[in-house]
Subunit: 151 residues, 2 copies
Amino acid sequence: MSQAPPFQLQDFLPYLLNQAAETSGQEFQSYYKARYGMLRTEWRVLFHLGRYGDMTATDICSRAKVHKTKVSRAVSALEARRFLKRETRSNDRRHEALSLTPAGEAAFADLTTEAQRYNATLLSDFSDEEFAVVRRFLLHVARLDCKDSQT
Amino acid sequence: MSQAPPFQLQDFLPYLLNQAAETSGQEFQSYYKARYGMLRTEWRVLFHLGRYGDMTATDICSRAKVHKTKVSRAVSALEARRFLKRETRSNDRRHEALSLTPAGEAAFADLTTEAQRYNATLLSDFSDEEFAVVRRFLLHVARLDCKDSQT
DNA sequence: GGCTATTAGTTGCTTTTGTAACTATCAACA
DNA sequence: TGTTGATAGTTACAAAAGCAACTAATAGCC
């Protein structure tokens, strides 16, 4: 009745992925939480605007696969801290073009530096080839492995 | 002023890990949610007891790195649905030995089969060697890569 | 123009999580 | 014994996330 190799928890990918995401997320959170009092979604919105240019809340939703209420609240919080500003588009007044303020740009630059540094520490024991495998796997599982990688 | 290669979101591991964990977690959740109305922590407690034998709530906390309030609530929920039973240990009445009921064992067996099947689909495009790299990486990031792998 | 359907974004309510304080039990040691 | 400190587990309260209803603006079509 026993299955061939008893199923180990450390072989179950949703569990492994969750543990790894939790640990790394917590560790990196310490940066943006301590320095800017940001929440995860706020950091994510900041990064999207800083890295990929001005866009609307809905754009961020579809790119980051985050629900719009979370984005809405993150945008409000970042606006209250003067990290971004909104501008209603004249041609369609439903859209709000979001853009970073100088303070937002500064925070983005600072945190991006940290992100790259932190990323490097996670990969220190792995070769470029190994990272490529890991990256491909993660993109596959997250269903992000479209041929046309987003600009 | 621009950093050598502009930092891509798809290279940032906490982000990638979170997306992959979210997607796979959601997908697998559909099984235990639909069939047994379980929450993630409840499934995790069930799996620990089914796979690793009877233990106390604190044992599960340290093994699964879950906070004790979450485990406490999951245990209560599983007990209410008659998936597990508690037994206060006579030698130390603070400890509660948790064990699955027959219904709990059945759910565990069913879900474990699904887990293995789902796991296989995630890995269908990857070789054993590639999986080994991914697994090693995830254990490393999650700080679970102790030499003495848990029994 | 005016009716209907769609889209962007917000708000209120519920569920879940996180934090800290609490009870109960036991161990150690004066 | 009895006092202090630690441990197992629960509960109460606060923060965050999820869901559904809502407003405002626009597009399509008659």
